[in-house]
């Protein structure tokens, strides 16, 4: 006797979501839509405005070719801004990452209250940037600066001539860079802690037995092992800083005399506050080649990691 149970054929539509050629596009569609609407559109719009004479006072479209670009490049303020942007980005990365690494090393140690310390370190991240900058503004204040007070107290500064942190161009640049490094610091700490935790204990023990002291362990074993993670953090931080305008805008408004303008803040100043959309768009587009290089580098790193 053979009695095979045969299922009644089910309607095909029931298995529609089991088919990869349908479910795949369905799942990826939101991401593509997001990129098209919120990334590609604004980007094309920026190019569209950059070759026009569009201002909010004269919203008719008139094609002017590359005239806006030559205007911007010729401008003294723009060139200063470009240099500032690099100083700001590189300075904040170096300070943030170096301090982040040492912060992470300290927080890897066993000590009482480590959990609280780790939570506190993340605070600069969690505090709204406007609030944090307000606190920094007081620290850099011409009269009430605690930084100056401390430096006078330890004899590093002449009380008759206290530094005007936000009033001198070089010092103001240092100030915005330091504040931004302070914002990056938690991210760097978290990334480095994750990196340190990923180094197998056996490898560290082996290095200890093989005679590697503190520095050799750190720079010949740990750092090379976590390098891929660190590089990704660096590129991410670079992109994040390069496009940032919040610290500069909140702390100095780009001043004194455009001494701390970065591309983001200048574009905002020109394009939105002054209403010159066309020139604002051009300034924004100058971010693009640098970010492109950073992103290509990042993607190559990621691919190398996979192999």
């Amino acid at each position: 006797m053979t009695a095979l149970a045969v299922d009644a054929p089910r309607p095909k539509s029931r298995f529609l979501l089991d088919r990869q050629e349908i479910i795949g596009p369905l799942f990826i569609a939101p991401a593509i839509l997001y990129v098209l609407v919120l990334v590609a559109m604004p980007f094309l719009l920026a190019i569209y405005y950059a070759v026009s004479a569009y201002t909010i006072f004269d919203p008719t479209y008139r094609f002017v070719g590359l005239k806006n670009f030559t205007d911007v490049i010729a401008s003294e303020v723009f060139r200063r801004t470009l240099i500032n942007t690099f100083v700001f980005t590189i300075g904040a990365q170096v300070i943030g990452l170096v301090l982040g690494k040492f912060g992470a090393m300290l927080l890897m140690q066993e000590f009482r209250g480590r959990g609280i310390a780790r939570a506190l370190v993340v605070l600069p991240w969690a505090v709204p940037v406007s609030l944090a900058t307000l606190a920094w503004q007081w620290m850099f204040d011409s009269l009430y600066s605690v930084i100056n007070w401390t430096m006078i107290a330890v004899g590093l500064m002449d009380p008759a001539e206290p530094w005007q942190w936000l009033g001198q161009q070089d010092l103001a640049m240092v100030a915005v860079t330091v504040v931004h490094a302070w914002r990056l610091f938690p991210f760097a700490v978290v990334i480095f802690i994750a990196g340190f935790t990923s180094v197998p204990k056996d490898v560290l023990d082996a290095a200890t037995i093989d005679g590697a002291g503190f520095w050799r362990r750190n720079y010949q074993i740990i750092l090379p092992i976590i390098m891929p993670i660190a590089v990704i953090a660096l590129i991410f931080g670079t992109v994040f800083t390069f496009t940032d305008l919040s610290v500069v805008y909140l702390l100095t408004r780009g001043g004194p005399m455009n001494g701390t303008q970065v591309l983001g803040s200048l574009a905002f100043q020109v394009g939105i506050l002054s209403g010159d959309v066309a020139h604002g768009a051009v300034i924004c587009l100058f971010l693009f080649p640098f970010l492109l290089v950073a992103v290509i580098f990042l993607l190559r790193m990621l691919r190398r990691r996979e192999i």
């Binding site: 197998p200 490898v203 023990d205 092992i225």
Partner: protein
């Protein structure tokens, strides 16, 4: 001469005593195995000898010198870890050369030593590769080569075979033993695998709950277990233990045979009810109970597969027996008693 000794080593982690007063000595050229279940403190003891952990009390002596306050690199030890601890970003060559570089060895000496070690372990064709491009067995050899170039007084090996698959482990076991015989360096080998311990160790130190239970050659450990723990930890299946006058009576399953197979020597007879029977190819394991005696666990008998099994069937009582000289006695505290006051009834 003693290569390594530990003198009443104790290690506490908070309330937990991981190592509880262990004293042992490994001699020059000896292969000493620390055997025990996981969490017994054997790895902690090894790490204390290496200097990766500080003992709460006690001394470690290497080459007749107290090394308690010496850092690991100055102790003349080399260690191979369970997952090998190779440097993933360095080539095999640089992995092996690393301990030499930290000592500031001249370049030509490094080259000579690395080539020698790689040749000895036949990994000279792999020196340009990175650890992730190697198989488990190859990684283990690289770790050994890296340990070897340091020219240590003692090798410390922490379960180096446990990451290999079963087949590779068997061949790696004999290679490792062969390697140790060639270089003749004292070796302390930590494992929870009794087959590794029995097969490789010149002497075995059995550890449980941080205490040294017995130390001796594989034969001594197996034939004359010092206590019930050692008796039941070694052997598959372990020694049968049955209660007797508050203490216990023990015999190995392979010595517990049908009475008619034991002729000549004086024997002690036990009626044995077989509950089930396992055929393992080379042997058969019989599980069951003894008549009128409380056993501490199920009683087993191990018979060669070719032994006549006429009439032996599950559910029935059979006359089984043990030669008197194969019986072991343990007192109330589970310690071995050499000379029982009374013969068993």
């Amino acid at each position: 001469m003693a290569a390594v000794s530990t003198n009443s080593i104790t290690k506490r982690f908070g309330d937990v005593t991981a190592v509880d007063g262990i004293s042992l000595t490994a001699f020059d050229g000896e292969f000493m195995v620390l055997l025990g279940p996981s969490g017994c403190g054997k790895t902690t003891l090894l790490r204390i000898i290496a200097g990766l952990e500080k003992p709460s009390s006690g001394d470690v002596l290497i080459d007749a010198q107290v090394v308690n306050d010496l850092p690991p690199r100055a102790r003349g030890i080399a260690m191979v870890f369970q997952s090998y601890g190779l440097y993933p970003h360095l080539t095999v060559w640089n992995n092996i050369a690393f301990p030499l570089r930290t000592q500031g060895t001249p370049r030509e000496d490094i080259k000579r030593k690395v080539e020698w070690a790689a040749g000895l372990l036949s990994i000279d064709h792999l020196v340009e590769r990175r650890p992730r491009q190697l198989s488990g067995g190859e990684r283990q050899r690289v770790a050994l080569a890296r340990a070897l170039v340091r020219d240590p007084t003692v090798f410390l090996l922490d379960e180096p075979l446990s990451n290999l698959d079963a087949k590779l482990r068997a061949s790696a076991r004999s290679e490792l033993k062969q390697f140790q015989k060639t270089v003749r360096t004292a070796t302390i080998y930590v494992t929870h695998d009794q087959v590794e311990a029995m097969g490789m160790g010149d002497r075995i130190a059995v550890i449980d709950h941080g205490r040294l239970r017995q130390i001796g050659t594989p034969t001594e450990i197996y034939e004359q277990p010092a206590d019930e723990f050692v008796a039941s930890f070694l052997g598959t299946p372990p020694m049968n233990l049955i209660e007797r006058d508050g203490g216990s009576l023990g015999f190995r399953p392979e010595n517990f045979l049908p009475k008619e197979l034991l002729n000549g020597a004086p024997v002690v007879e036990f009626p044995f009810r077989i509950d089930r029977l396992e055929y393992l190819g080379s042997e058969r394991i019989l599980y069951g109970a003894l008549d009128g005696r409380a056993a501490k666990r199920e009683v087993t008998a191990k018979l060669p597969a070719h032994a006549a099994l006429d009439g032996i069937s599950p559910g029935a009582w059979h006359k089984f027996a043990v030669r008197e000289k194969e019986l072991r006695y343990f007192d109330r505290d589970g310690r071995s008693v050499r000379d029982p006051k009374r013969p068993p009834p």
